[in-house]
Symmetry: C2
Subunit: 467 residues, 2 copies
């Protein structure tokens, strides 16, 4: 799917590269951590900043949309041609928590460029990938001599993606008229590697819960009482241990009900990807692969659901020792879901499974966060062809197909707007999403700009709107 | 074993009660937390304070003994009669960690009296129970008209008991000449209840370890990698879940090797104690009993070994969620041991058991703290009779026999000095050792003073020294 690149687009991008990166750094300095209440003002500041920047870019409309939580940003730039298709770009302006002491080499909210990489929380997930569209649309206009994009371009950049998008679906439902689109472009995923540009065809969903187990009313002496009362930390550990069977399959009854199994064709395409376990492990900062029996590593992260413990805590974790039975214990569990899995069903079966495992004397408080649905676009969808062509021009080479193991609220857009979802991402696995020293490769970021510059024209020419 | 109390002893105690409590409060204000390195200076201050106070009490010798860790205090008051037996009182001046935010109603290091109870960290464990001997010996002298105690009285008050007494055995070995005694009185246990005074005949031992499990080099994204690499928090949880079998017996192979089983006589005596599960549960601040099949609650805490998780931690434990696979996880495990169990053997089998359960990709760091041996004195030992008589006079009623589920370095004293160990404790289960709002009942504290006042004379009269 390689196409010829456009020298006018490339010249324009080269001329505006420095200012583009300065602007992005300014945005990355805002610690818009949606999961931490004390950063609520920063998330708002991030939304205000983006709306102002989109206005400067040329969007006739750029608005901050309130939600019961953190605000989103909406922008709109109509095409000249009233018959042009409408495209909605989705991304998010909030970021994961980050603190220098988590292992960052530099301040996570003070962007620095080292070795042609931009390091900052949000550099890849997702501010960098939202922001490349601002230069992309201007390059599209400059190179084609247009004063308006070839498509009716809309942007919806939410502020709660890293907190599970609790108000996103309601927002999309409330504003469905203004968000109406023929296609959704999700700019919040990645590609295979620097050398292997890919288009993602789906994301896993996500159901998350917190389980607090209450035992004694206070920490008690493990000598005076140990061996004769239930220990909530032990109960927490037993729940985690019961999540999987000996084949590393999730052992919660009903968990796999109704899932869409991987097709032979996609399995074959994935097997042809240049997967190297050693370099994959390096990107995972891990020392061994381990997972569901009967599946490859790629199948495990792209096409199989999981149960994972993201956090566990209880009792004394400081220096030395403290011989107590702790009063309580905490579990943070998450379940990645694949097409065909319903988060409501997952919540129901997890609650039933946990309830059966709570002994007398322990009280469990189980809280589910709002879930994210899985999302999958068929391999033969025509929209994927436009995207793959635009990417092929930017990268001057063939484009392959993958999926993402991560989760985003793309499925809500698909459900509510009735529009197919296409994934445009230039991040690579080593970018360290959610981890210390998150970065984006500057060359790839600019390929993202270029793909955006080509995409709107290709879609306008080749996309047939639904009748 | 009820005896007639001595009105001269009681009058003396009543007259000196206020000053005694003021002095104790002064000591309790020193936060001598041995497990926390930043309190090292406080532990030293506590030792200095005690040595000075023992000199004021009348002890001709009161010294601070250095160790490679926290200092101990030694004091000696020889009897007039060179043929008198020698008694060594053991206790400790260090305390468990405590912070207001753990659930204390008042500052743990600012003692307050409410409803005839003295609240402070160390009030019962162990400063209060050490300190009652200072008034006890003076009451003994005042009531008998002596200028020196009826026994050669020695005190050894260590400073690392709450840290597992890492240097205690070496100290006792180094100073065995000066510590030589015919009997050891351990003042670091409790009794059944306010209404049922008891003498403790043994304590459990304690082996403690920390297991750190290292997985990915940093926290990684649970979407991008989840389902395909081992999660160290899951491995930690599986270790905890594997500690016990379905009968709540410890499942580590060899754990029960060689243990001294409870005799039918002691089992019978315990069955006659006024045990009420509901009030025991209140003291445990717990809502159900649970433990090894085939044993009563008392047997479980007094005569059966345990495996307990005192702390577990890994990943994100803050507000909201963070979809990561954590880089590492922490376990703090402790094993209560009974007579016949060797801590070195326990360490060996725990290491072997854990090693079998660490999957590829996870690296385990296992550290054992210095262990405390179990200790048991036969029911028919003559020393117990003197102690039970002294206690019977103070309480004006019968005295029964129990054990303690807790652990202390008494067995080292028994081993090195070749002297039997007697346990004199007036604390009750509701005192909240190691927990928030630790307290001592003032009436019982003064009964401890009184028991101490009677004990030295009874021992001198009735104790036959080893030939």
């Amino acid at each position: 799917m390689s196409q010829t690149p456009d020298s006018a687009v490339r010249t324009y991008i080269e001329q505006h590269r420095a200012a583009f990166l300065d602007d992005l750094a300014e945005w990355l300095r805002i610690p818009s951590v949606s999961a931490q209440p004390d950063h609520a003002a920063d998330v708002r500041r991030s939304a205000d900043w983006l709306a102002a920047r989109l206005t400067e870019t040329g969007f006739p409309t750029a608005e901050v949309w309130e939600t019961p939580g953190a605000p989103a940003v909406f922008a709109e730039w109509p095409a000249d041609d009233p018959e042009a298709p409408t495209v909605l770009v989705y991304g998010h302006h909030d970021v994961q928590p980050a603190a220098r002491e988590d292992g960052w080499d530099t301040d996570p909210f003070e962007p620095v460029v080292r070795e042609n990489r931009l390091y900052a929380r949000g550099a890849a997930d997702d501010k960098g990938q939202v922001f490349f569209h601002t230069l992309g649309v201007r390059a599209h206009l400059a190179a084609t001599g247009r004063t308006a994009p070839a498509v009716n371009l809309k942007l919806l950049i939410e502020g709660e993606e890293e907190s599970g998008s609790p108000h996103f679906r309601a927002l999309v439902e409330d504003r469905a008229d203004r968000l109406a689109a023929d296609a959704v472009i999700v700019s919040d995923t990645g590609m295979w590697s620097e050398d292997t540009p890919t288009v993602c065809t789906g994301m896993r969903g996500l159901a998350e819960c917190q389980i607090v187990l209450h035992g004694p009313d206070q920490d008690i002496h493990s000598g005076a009482f140990g061996g004769a009362v239930p220990n909530p930390a032990t109960v927490a550990a037993r729940l985690v241990a019961a999540l999987h069977d000996e084949h590393a399959r999730v052992a919660i009854p009903g968990f796999y009900d109704g899932i869409v199994e991987l097709s032979d064709r996609e399995r074959q395409l994935w097997a042809e990807l240049p997967f190297d376990e050693e370099s994959w492990l390096r990107e995972a900062h891990s020392y061994a692969t381990e997972g569901e029996a009967g599946h490859t590593t790629l199948e495990r992260v792209w096409a199989r659901p999981t149960a994972e413990v993201n956090g566990i805590g209880g009792g004394y974790q400081g220096p030395g020792s403290k011989t107590i039975i702790p009063s309580s214990a905490l579990l943070k569990l998450s379940f990645r879901l694949v097409a065909g899995q319903d988060p409501d069903h997952v919540e129901k079966i997890v609650r039933a499974w946990a309830a059966e495992r709570i002994p007398a004397g322990i009280r469990a408080e189980i809280t589910f966060l709002p879930a994210t649905r899985p999302c999958l676009t068929p391999l033969d969808h025509p929209g994927l062809q436009s995207l793959a062509r635009a990417m092929g021009r930017a990268f001057e080479g063939p484009v392959r197909f993958t999926r993402s193991g991560g989760s985003g609220p793309a499925a809500d857009l698909q459900d509510v707007l009735g529009a197919p979802v296409l994934f445009l991402g230039i991040s690579v696995p080593s970018d360290g999403w959610h981890a210390p020293n998150e970065k984006v490769e500057l060359d790839l970021l600019l390929k993202g700009v270029e793909t955006s510059a080509y995409l709107w024209g290709d879609l306008a020419e080749n996309w047939r709107r639904a009748p």
